[in-house]
């Protein structure tokens, strides 16, 4: 993994504006690898019996950036990947829009899939961002009752 770690490029951002899939793709495709895996976490309308109107996110921004960078570096140590992009949105995220985009470019598909899965799983554990549900019935609720780890 040493070679790819040395040359791996990372792009991390936290922003209030809608996330641009095209920009992320362009960054990843420029690696000229063979596969790109992208995961987008999107605002889900229905959870159990409850209907979500929108979500809002708040971040400890400076720390979240650092934690996201650390995760990307860690993924680069574990998998042979070329580029990693992690972008989290803050503020209101309407139903069906993305709150987070994670992308990994690699020479082959295996590492791209595995690193992307690792990154979203870990992001949910260690990156200081919080989600607030705005339900259709007018109530709101901050998520996160306990630490996963």
């Amino acid at each position: 993994m040493l070679d790819s770690r040395q040359s791996m490029e990372i792009k991390v951002d936290i922003q209030a504006a809608p996330l641009s899939l095209d920009e992320l793709w362009a960054f990843l495709a420029a690696a000229e690898g063979g596969g790109i895996a992208i995961f987008g976490g999107t605002t889900r309308r229905i959870t159990g019996e409850r209907v979500t109107e929108q979500l809002s996110y708040e971040a400890h921004e400076s720390m979240a950036r650092r934690e996201m960078e650390k995760l990307a570096v860690k993924a680069g140590e574990q998998w042979d990947v070329l580029r990693i992009g992690l972008i989290h949105r803050t503020g209101i995220v309407p139903v069906s829009e993305a709150s987070v985009l994670i992308g990994v470019a690699s020479a082959h598909r295996g590492p791209a899939f595995e690193a992307a899965r690792f990154l979203i799983d870990e992001l949910k554990v260690s990156v200081p961002v919080w989600k607030k549900e705005h339900f259709a019935d007018g109530t709101t609720e901050w998520q996160g009752d306990d630490w996963v780890r």
Partner: protein, 81 residues
């Protein structure tokens, strides 16, 4: 010495503020700071068991000795993604 305390999300809403300056004795640990705040603020007291602390954008252990000017973040369980 003084430290800056940052709170976010539910704690920020409950306290009605996102940051304030706190005067603490030299040698105060992050655990002691949380204790003091939790005695003063019910919102912090209620969450004391799940709060984790970061100092200057890094996760720290509870017994981290604070230094003058540190930015101390009191963090509730994260729920991003």
């Amino acid at each position: 010495m003084t430290v800056i305390v940052n709170v976010f999300a539910r704690l920020r809403e409950q306290l009605g503020t996102s940051a304030w300056t706190e005067s603490v004795p030299e040698g105060t640990t992050s655990r002691q700071l949380v204790k003091v705040l939790s005695e003063r603020e019910a919102a912090i007291s209620e969450l004391e068991n799940v709060l984790r602390v970061a100092v200057n954008d890094e996760w720290v252990q509870k017994d981290r000795i604070l230094e003058d000017g540190d930015e101390v973040a009191l963090l509730t369980p994260v729920s991003g993604g």
